[in-house]
């Protein structure tokens, strides 16, 4: 019974604070796209304001001499991102390093919210009248997908801009048709033409897999992390004082605290790792788009 209540509590906690733009329609008839997750928007807006406020504060204090304090710390991150981009990127593109920096810092700070106690922000928000609250915006698929689509759009833009003919040939003739079209046999050539839609489908799947894998990797890791946090937190939930003071209750509380602490540290590492993976894959995808055509 208690386990069922806990699982219900976890499921409730995984609900978003949602606002529908079709309030006048019955719930069943509403378009699921026409709603917005207020909690995700609030937290990402807060993180963005935090980063931009810090940037504005730091901008007026930047010195060309030996850096100290905050400038020193941020320069370490910028230097790390610059080195990563230089190691992976064949040419200079003034947008790639800022993009990588933004992705890394934004995702890391969003993931950082996971270190807060699992139910804390949810309970505070409920106390303020919100129906639900998810504190980690990277758990919301909309954020990873938005970032991945920006990266995908940039990849397509550079593919078309830098090597349009090669990209179109790659899109239509790889992997099957190219060999067939090179043949002198007209029947084989015709077969090659017939295979163009199949090539296009495969290539589109290949290209779409990039943003999908990029976004679902981040979302999946952070979502699973949050669920595990909630499961660990549920170890600490007891029905009454008698249960809390029992031998099993005390062991459960201690275990819950220790496991929760260990998972917090591990999950912070996961958050950092996911930010790095998203950043490095972005650089790699854009690098592939910038690779010169091999003849």
């Amino acid at each position: 019974m208690a386990a069922e209540e806990h699982s219900t509590g976890i499921a409730e906690h995984l609900q978003y604070w949602t606002y529908s733009f079709q309030q006048n329609l019955p719930v069943d008839e509403r378009n699921p796209f026409m709603q917005i997750h207020i909690d995700t928007m609030l937290v990402t807006g807060f993180v963005a304001c935090l980063i931009l406020g810090f940037s504005a504060w730091l901008k007026g204090r930047i010195v060309e001499g030996a850096p100290t304090g905050a400038q020193n710390a941020v320069e370490s991150i910028v230097g790390f991102v610059n080195d990563t981009v230089k190691d992976n990127f064949p040419v200079h593109n003034p947008l790639v390093a800022p993009l990588a920096l933004t992705i890394f810092v934004f995702i890391f700070l969003c993931n950082f919210f996971d270190i807060l106690p699992a139910y804390l922000l949810g309970h505070i928000a409920e106390g303020l009248g919100a129906p639900a609250f998810r504190p980690v915006p990277t758990n919301d698929l909309n954020l990873p997908v938005a970032m991945a689509l920006v990266v995908f759009a940039l990849v397509l833009y550079y593919e078309f801009k830098l090597k349009p003919i090669h990209f179109m040939k790659d899109l239509l003739l790889q992997p099957f048709a190219s060999l067939l079209l090179d043949s002198k046999n007209p029947v084989v050539k015709f077969l090659g033409v017939l295979l163009i839609p199949l090539n296009l489908t495969l290539k589109l799947i290949e290209e779409l897999a990039k943003p999908l894998s990029l976004s679902f990797r981040l979302f999946g890791n952070m979502f699973a992390g949050e669920v595990i946090f909630l499961l660990i937190a549920s170890l600490l939930l007891v029905d009454n004082m008698h249960d809390l003071m029992s031998f099993g209750g005390i062991v459960s509380e201690i275990m819950g605290l220790l496991v929760g602490l260990a998972w917090s540290f591990f999950h912070m590492f996961i958050g950092l790792l996911q930010a790095f993976i998203f950043m490095i894959l972005t650089v790699v995808y854009l690098s592939i788009a910038h690779q010169p055509v091999e003849h």
Binding site: Q35, G45, A48, I51, I62, V78, L143, M147
Partner: protein, 160 residues
């Protein structure tokens, strides 16, 4: 887990943040880092140039020192040669002067001897004349007898 208008909102948030972060954080910070790197590189290049200039100056100084040493050696050798020449000249000059002094002394001695002989001759002649006057007791022709005595004495001195 649903895709909805939050996606559009996240697009806006992300792109806005990308553009503003580039303008407000990345570009100024990167410029400062680049400027610092260039300054450090310039400093290192200047240090390298300084080291190179120092090495060159050291080499020049060593060359100049060697040249000065050889020149000094030449000067010392020349001075030694000149000193030897001066010494030789002085010795020769001293020898010549000594010879001249000796010659002058000899000449003076000869003239003194000649003068003394003359004086003595005259005195002996006078004495002889006076002695003869006493012996003979008459006044003789002084000039004529004096000439005779002088001739006799001179013969005697010449024989001596």
């Amino acid at each position: 887990m649903s895709i909805d208008l939050t996606l559009v909102g996240q697009f806006i948030v992300f792109i806005t943040m990308l553009l503003l972060m580039k303008k407000m954080l990345y570009v100024p910070l990167n410029d400062a880092m680049e400027a610092r790197t260039q300054k450090i590189e310039a400093g290192l290049a200047a240090a390298d140039a300084g080291l190179e200039a120092k090495a060159k100056a050291d080499a020049d100084a060593a060359l100049q020192l060697d040249a000065a040493k050889s020149k000094a050696q030449e000067i010392v050798s020349a001075a030694e040669r000149r000193a030897a020449e001066v010494k030789e000249e002085a010795v020769i000059k001293a020898r010549l002067e000594a010879v001249a002094i000796v010659d002058a002394g000899k000449e003076e001695l000869a003239s003194e001897v000649s003068r003394a002989k003359q004086d003595l001759r005259e005195e002996v002649a006078g004495i002889a004349l006076q002695a003869a006057e006493k012996i003979v007791g008459v006044e003789l022709d002084a000039k004529r007898h004096a000439a005779l005595i002088h001739a006799s004495i001179s013969k005697g001195f010449d024989a001596a």
